[in-house]
């Protein structure tokens, strides 16, 4: 191979692990340690079913985390994902509910066929993504402001449609299927399977494709990216649409699971998605991070909150705990990266 002759000049090709891989491995290390501690002190933590739950109970945060991670890598936030879940859930229910079946306004919907109803709901979710993209990519408004706006807009529409409550009657039976079926003989739900498929797809996108690479280039230096011929606005638009679509899918799965469109669903999920991305080493400054890291971050958060519950800590402590874990993770990453540089 020609590479071997060139190595004689002592220019190494590859070999050195990227900082992303290093951090992901580091966080896996942190996860293993935390897991060990939890097994030792939390009753029944080691049971296989519990271990499985650590991942499967978090499927919705991980799906959201994919979109949020890629946007963070480009240097943009998406705080609208929680609102989009509520909106899509409510809309999918509203579109499916029978028309003129009851005197109760909340029991009457549009009576659309199931498939069409879901398609329309997803389209509406992407509409929110399109609003985000328009303001951020075209008008250059800071993403945090825009997506906080669409977060409220999406949830607001959901509240209007549900009159501030929920819609859960006159739904066809098929509506409750996707959110509740599981792989035969296990407790692994279809939603979890989708999550795993999406994580694999995201991993391939990130590591092996040209658009995946573009995501990093834009985050590392948007102006240089533009001058290098990358259509930055188009790519940001694509990522916001994707993020909204992922939130929409999550919204439909959650609505199906509970067979209800609830306007207060997924309150605060945008922050959870942000936290797991940060735990996984994604940089808010852009240009750095990975989906795998985000996945590990989500499991770490899950280990901590599950142990807290297992130790009979009052649920009131959940937020405080998440805050502390976030700080410790950030300190640990800083420490690890500084060590590596030296």
């Amino acid at each position: 191979m020609s590479v071997e002759t060139k190595q004689a000049r002592k220019i190494t090709v590859g070999g050195r692990m990227s900082n992303e891989s290093f951090l992901t491995l580091f966080m896996i290390g942190v996860l293993v340690v935390l897991f060990g501690i939890a097994c030792a002190i939390v009753p029944n933590f080691y049971l296989p079913q519990n271990m499985l739950n650590l991942i499967t109970n978090n499927w919705y945060i991980i799906i959201l985390g994919i979109g949020v991670t890629f946007l963070l890598i480009t240097g943009n936030f998406d705080m609208s994902v929680g609102g989009v879940i509520a909106l899509t859930g409510v809309l999918s229910v509203y579109f499916c509910q029978g028309a003129n079946v009851s005197r109760n306004v909340l029991a009457n919907g549009l009576g659309l066929p199931y498939g069409l109803a879901l398609g329309l709901a997803l389209l509406c979710a992407m509409g929110i993504g399109a609003i985000n993209a328009f303001f951020i990519a075209r008008l250059k408004v800071p993403s945090i402001i825009v997506t906080l706006g669409t977060m409220m807009l999406a949830r607001g529409i959901a509240q209007v449609i549900t009159r501030g409550a929920q819609r859960n009657t006159s739904l066809p039976d098929v509506f409750g299927v996707v959110g509740n079926i599981a792989i035969q003989g296990t407790s692994i739900k279809f939603s979890v399977v989708i999550m795993v498929l999406l994580v694999v797809a995201a991993f391939i996108f990130e590591r092996m494709t040209v658009p995946g690479r573009r995501t990093y280039l834009i985050g590392a230096n948007a102006e240089a990216a533009r001058l290098s011929g990358i259509t930055v606005g188009k790519h940001i638009t694509f990522l916001y649409l994707t993020s909204a679509l992922l939130a929409g899918i999550t919204g439909i799965l959650l609505a199906s699971e509970f067979k209800a469109g609830v306007s207060s669903r997924a309150m605060g999920y945008e922050f959870d998605a942000l936290v797991v991305a940060l735990l996984g080493g994604v940089s808010i400054a852009g240009g750095f991070g990975s989906v795998l890291g985000m996945f590990v971050g989500a499991v770490i958060l899950s280990v901590v909150t599950t142990s807290a519950t297992g130790l009979l800590l009052s649920p009131d402590w959940q937020f405080t705990l998440k805050g502390i874990v976030t700080f410790i993770a950030i300190l640990a990453q800083r420490f690890a990266l500084d060590r590596r540089k030296g």
Partner: protein, 496 residues
């Protein structure tokens, strides 16, 4: 009272970094009230030495005496208090404040936290007036040119009775006429009991300005001499790099008549009806002072800025977007390599192929072995000093970073390359290497547009020279025939 003798004595100074000894046993003296130039290639240890003097780095060993007393600042602020001020390339002024407010910034007199008007400000303003009367203390700093902002900083350093002002490439971003004014001020500082340590890549400035010159190479002190004892540029260059560099233009023998680029009546907020043509294989230089419209012209052709008029490339109209322009076969090495050209937190491998990802991918999937091969190819071709394709670009020196930008543009397979200030802030050795690359490309039939504010650079390598002044194309010259640098300067400074 005028003091004489040494203001600064450096003895056996060493600075070690984990992998390299950046300053290696350096000893020399700086005489009081002189302009002392510090030269050396990038990586010679100048910056590290300066950072030790300004308190940004701690030394590993050695001794520094300031006015005969042990000097070891623990922070830039502390260095300033002890009498060493620095004029960095990134100026330390606040645009939104007035000149007077900037002068007293950080040393305002206050009562219970409220500002108090005192004599201090008058003293500051009078110092500034003596340096440059045209600056009003009530003016907002944002309305000043870079050169005048420098003067505000110099005034501040003089008024606070600094013994030494370090100037790090002060002329890199200012025009020739402003340079003349700056030089006058710097020369006048000797009378004000101020010693200047002057760092510049422009060697001519050293002969014009310097009393003494210290040459560094590979972290070592090579020599300190009175400037009057140095014969010419090439002696200085020999000391800096230990070998001679020739810079002579030889006109091309046979030139292609095939036109590749036609610009017709190009106008925008900065440009005024510019028209010209470029032949295949031709090296065209655009020379003008800062603000003449060089960068704006490059950006307009590249589609990065809006314009009116018509640009034909290989006979077809160009769409004004970098994406389309690159596809058509034009690449740009932008003015600011760090903010416009490079993805500094990514690796060399992450940077080199970005302008032509199609060449290393299939159906959108990156072929990583090909990517590595290509990166390695350019590292060798352009002799980028690195140990690995996986080194982050931010860790490379300025010259090597610029070579990465070049690699990026060369990999785009462009037929026309536009180079905006291609050798700014690069040491002499890397400069001549880059000129070599440009000549080679031209021999391969690529056309090259160079936008530069350094006349020697334009005269050394360009076949045709266009002079810009205030957004207008003032003159077109053929290099090699009756080129008169005085006349060129006359035109680009607004003369007819």
């Amino acid at each position: 009272m005028k003091l004489t003798g040494n203001v600064l004595e450096i003895r056996d100074l060493v600075k070690d970094f984990p992998s390299v000894r950046a300053v290696n046993n350096v000893s020399f003296d700086i005489k009081r009230n002189t302009v002392h130039c510090l030269v050396g290639e990038n990586g010679a240890g100048k910056s590290t030495l300066i950072k030790i003097l300004t308190g940004a780095y701690a030394r590993s060993s050695g001794k520094i005496l300031l006015n005969g007393e042990e000097y070891s600042p623990h922070s830039p602020k502390n260095a300033k208090e002890k009498g060493i001020s620095t004029l960095f390339q990134e100026l330390n002024v606040v645009d939104q404040l007035t000149v007077a407010e900037n002068l007293t910034l950080g040393m305002e007199d206050t009562t219970f936290g409220f500002l108090r008007k005192t004599d201090k400000i008058n003293k500051m303003v009078s110092v500034m007036n003596s340096l440059e009367p045209s600056i009003s203390p009530r003016q907002l700093v944002s309305t000043l040119s870079v050169a005048k902002k420098q003067i505000v900083e110099i005034a501040k350093a003089v008024a606070t009775e600094s013994d030494i002002i370090i100037m790090d490439e002060p002329t890199a971003a200012i025009s020739e006429s402003e340079i003349a004014r700056l030089f006058k001020i710097v020369k006048g500082l000797r009378e004000k009991n101020v010693t200047v340590i002057y760092i510049s890549h422009r060697l001519d400035e050293i002969f014009e300005l310097g009393d003494y010159v210290t040459v560094m190479r590979d972290g070592k002190h090579i020599d300190t001499k009175p400037v009057s004892e140095i014969q010419d540029r090439s002696e200085l260059i020999r000391m800096m790099i230990g070998k001679t560099v020739f810079e002579v233009y030889t006109p091309k023998k046979d030139r292609s008549q095939e036109t590749i680029l036609q610009v017709r009546n190009l106008s925008n907020h900065k440009l005024n009806g510019i028209s010209f043509e470029v032949k295949k294989g031709e090296i065209v230089g655009f020379y003008g002072l800062v603000g003449a419209g060089k960068t704006e012209l490059a950006r307009a052709i590249y589609g990065a800025d809006d314009y009116e008029g018509e640009i034909l490339f290989k006979g077809e109209k160009l769409h004004p977007s970098p994406h389309k322009v690159i596809e058509a076969g034009i690449a740009l090495v932008p003015e600011e390599r760090r903010s416009q050209g490079l993805f500094t937190i990514l690796t060399i491998r992450g940077n080199v192929p970005v302008m032509n990802m199609g060449k290393i991918s299939r159906n959108g999937f990156i072929n990583s072995s090909q990517e590595r091969k290509v990166t390695l190819e350019y590292i060798e071709k352009l002799r980028i000093a690195t140990s690995s394709t996986e080194k982050e670009v931010i860790k490379l020196s300025g010259g090597n970073q610029q070579k990465v930008v070049f690699s990026k543009c060369l990999f785009a397979d462009a037929d026309l390359l536009m180079l905006d200030e291609p050798t700014r802030g690069i040491d002499v050795g890397a400069k001549s290497e880059i000129y070599g690359i440009i000549r080679r490309l031209s021999e391969e039939g690529k056309s090259i547009l160079i936008f530069s504010s350094e006349l020697p650079e334009i005269m050394n390598i360009c076949d045709s020279i266009y002079l810009l002044y205030d957004g207008n194309l003032k003159a077109a010259l053929q290099n090699g025939y009756d080129i008169d640098s005085e006349k060129i300067i006359h035109i680009v400074t607004g003369g007819e």
